[in-house]
């Protein structure tokens, strides 16, 4: 499985970082998140990146970050795969 990250659709709220850290450690801590959101407010750019610690939440029905994302910036599947 893969995650498709669409930085263009993201609004930078970082809810995914909270959901991900809760999945890994049971606490809320962006530091423990496999997903990282970088906001550039001067240029209006947002960048999403995924670290190797991501386990795709295999025991969940959906990855936690996908479950909680409100913008549709995160999706389960392969890049270029029709959703």
């Amino acid at each position: 499985m893969e995650l498709v990250l669409n930085s263009g659709a993201c609004n930078g709220c970082r809810i995914c970082e909270l959901a991900c850290s809760f999945h890994h450690q049971g606490v809320f801590a962006p530091e423990y998140s496999s997903l990282k959101v970088s906001n550039d407010y001067r240029e209006g750019k947002i960048h999403l990146s995924l670290e190797a610690t991501c386990d795709f939440c295999l025991q969940e029905s959906q990855p936690m970050c996908v479950q909680y994302c409100v913008t549709g910036a995160l999706k389960k599947g392969r890049e270029n795969e029709p959703s």
Partner: protein, 635 residues
């Protein structure tokens, strides 16, 4: 770092004296057990520790940052920080609040509150990281605007995930209406909190934390989070804020649309539809410049448009800002040019100026110009004509740097009118000494909530717009009538206290009406996160403590009484000129009836407006009552 006994909290309060450079910490729990968090703890510390004889300008004035007790968790929209101080406008309660990503970062760095006292000899900034604090030389950022300050500090400290709260040139120069700014485009405005930070020679606070926030009952908390998110997603108002806010208030299908304008310094409270459409219409107005939406931390709405202007005289203007403030500001100055409106809004944030304060001061000057009391010569060669974007932008710059006419206006509209005289006091709209931007006459619940606000003419205490959007469920009231307004404002002032205690944004809660978060949701989220048994009634009681702490501060420090809870004279004597509410004004007799009822509900004395022994005792605030009794200001 000491792990907090309560869930939700970081666990420690940081105290910094900028004069002696002394740094200390204490446990948050000592305060949290009675006041839970955020603004309510700030208010308690401010009231308990500040000597009423200490003026706002004294280095001993306190500047307290308080992060809501749910900030840093998945509680939706809980990201906000309250800032309390003694107000430079009044010597009464100063209070302002911002969202963004600063609050959660402070908690991940180990602190719930930062209490700042003293004054540094030279400009400094605080660098807070993972339980450590450094007071650092601010030579690289003093004189810089807020965006540059953030950029430079991130480079200097070598981490682009550092969050920064800073003042701009306005705060450095002692402009009364200065903000504390943080990204994305969020300002703690009102009460001159940026003035106090500037007076302490504190340019910024930079923060970075690699820690975590835990909740006491994770499963129960996540269930409450899921229910809350579903309610927010289902709320048309919450989603309206996402679409750039304008729809919720300014387009004709909004129940509130005819109530929120005070054109030409409040000479009227109706703005023609053509002007509204030009400024905020989806095709022609500010939305046409939107490139994307950006959001505060943990917010499922996201209300902050990033705009870019690609043609015309404001070409090259870009940044993240918040449209509704632009709309309020624009009607006050009769400006219907959307590009100029985006330009000045972004400029306010860079300069560190508050839009409400700035537009009120500017609108007063424009009216003086219209009536011949200020000449072109008095205004450094500018023609202050209503709706002139260029004049507005030039005046903002002058105000922030205290140049010429800007220096004359920089202490607020009350002081400007006192200096000029000649009847200009009549259109100087202020309450409790502070500039007041809001309309009062058409929407009775809004006007009343603004007038009784302990922080002086502000709409974020008890102001209610329309029953579909704000106020309690089940109460019958309507925006243009006086009936049941005190009851609605009484409830709203407590609900807002809870939101500031926990750190919730009003757009996920009490400004999004039916279906968005309610006090019952806050109760469940706070109980499961903090690990304390709360029912809704308990939470409302703690909120009433907070409301009374602010009331007591004003009574003790500023000597405010019933006479300070009336609208500016203009709004009582001069009716609305046009539109569906033409002829409407604030009726003195009806106002007195509302005040009587509001004081009665709060347990305050009707004649003086002061707190009562009985009212404070019932809330467990006997120590506050004793202090008021000692100076003869308790009934």
């Amino acid at each position: 770092m000491n792990p907090a006994k309560f869930g939700g909290l970081a666990g420690q309060i940081l105290r910094v004296d900028l004069g002696s450079k002394k740094i200390s910490t204490e446990e948050t729990e000592k305060y949290a057990k009675n006041f839970l968090g955020g603004r309510t703890i700030n208010s308690y510390i401010l009231l308990k520790e500040m000597d009423p004889e200490t003026k706002f300008s004294d280095p001993k004035n306190m500047l307290i940052f308080g992060v809501g007790c749910l900030v840093g968790t998945l509680a939706p929209g809980a990201c906000r920080v309250s800032i309390e101080t003694k107000s430079p406008y009044s010597n009464g309660k100063g209070s302002a609040n911002f969202g963004g990503h600063f609050g959660p970062e402070l908690k991940y760095a180990g602190f719930d509150h930062v209490v700042i006292t003293g004054k540094s000899k030279d400009p400094v900034y605080l660098w807070i990281h993972d339980g450590e604090v450094e007071i650092k030389d601010a030579i690289s950022v003093w004189g810089r605007n807020t965006g540059e300050t953030e950029k430079i500090l991130r480079e200097e400290l070598g981490d682009n995930r550092i969050q920064v709260a800073s003042i701009g040139p306005a705060g450095e120069r002692g402009v009364r209406g200065s903000i504390v700014f943080t990204n994305p485009g969020k300002a703690a405005g009102g009460s001159g909190v940026g003035w106090v930070m500037g007076a302490k020679k504190l340019k910024a606070i930079a923060v970075r934390g690699h820690g975590s926030v835990r909740v006491a009952e994770p499963q129960r908390f996540m269930a409450a989070v899921n229910r809350s998110l579903a309610k927010i997603q289902a709320s048309p108002y919450a989603q309206g804020w996402r679409r750039g806010i304008i729809e919720a208030k300014f387009l004709p299908h909004s129940p509130a649309w005819n109530f929120f304008a005070s054109p030409r310094n409040g000479q009227d409270e109706f703005w023609p539809l053509e002007k509204r459409a030009k400024l905020v219409g989806l095709e022609s107005g500010v939305p046409r410049y939107k490139k994307r939406i950006m959001a505060c931390f943990g917010c499922p709405i996201g209300c902050l448009p990033y705009s870019e202007i690609e043609e015309g005289k404001y070409k090259g203007t870009k940044g993240v800002g918040y449209w509704i403030n632009s709309a309020t500001y624009s009607t006050k100055l009769d400006l219907d040019d959307p590009a100029a409106s985006i330009r000045y809004h972004l400029m306010l944030n860079e300069l560190g100026l508050d839009g409400d304060m700035c537009s009120t001061s500017l609108a007063w000057a424009f009216e003086c110009f219209e009536k011949g009391l200020l000449s072109k010569g008095d205004c450094d060669g500018l023609n202050l004509r209503w709706g002139d974007g260029e004049a507005i932008l030039a005046m903002q710059q002058k105000l922030a740097y205290r140049e010429g006419i800007g220096d004359f206006l920089a202490d607020g509209v009350k002081e400007s009118a006192r200096k000029l005289g000649k009847g200009s006091e009549f259109w100087a709209t202020h309450i409790k000494g502070q500039d007041s931007v809001d309309p009062y006459r058409a929407a009775k619940g809004w006007g009343f909530g603004v007038a009784i606000s302990p922080v002086g003419g502000r709409h974020l205490r008890g102001a209610v717009s329309a029953p579909e959007v704000t106020g309690p469920r089940g109460l019958k009231w309507s925006p243009a009538a006086y009936e049941n307004i005190p009851e609605a404002v009484y409830w709203q002032s407590q609900a807002k206290e809870i939101e500031d205690m926990a750190g919730f944004c009003i757009f996920v809660g009490t400004w999004s009406g039916v279906h968005a978060l309610e006090v019952s949701d806050y109760t469940e989220l706070m109980s499961s996160a903090l690990g304390i048994d709360l029912i809704e009634k308990d939470l409302m009681k703690i909120a009433r403590k907070g409301v009374n702490l602010e009331k007591a501060f004003n009574t003790l420090h500023a000597g405010f009484d019933r006479t300070d809870d009336y609208p500016p004279r203009r709004y009582m004597e001069e009716p609305v000129q046009s539109g569906p509410h033409a002829g409407s004004r604030c009726d003195k007799e009806r106002w007195d009836e509302m005040l009587d009822r509001f004081y009665e509900l709060n347990g305050w004395d009707k004649k003086t407006g002061w707190p009562t022994w009985k009212g404070l005792e019932e809330l467990g605030l006997g120590e506050v009552a004793a202090r008021l009794k000692k100076v003869g200001r308790l009934k």
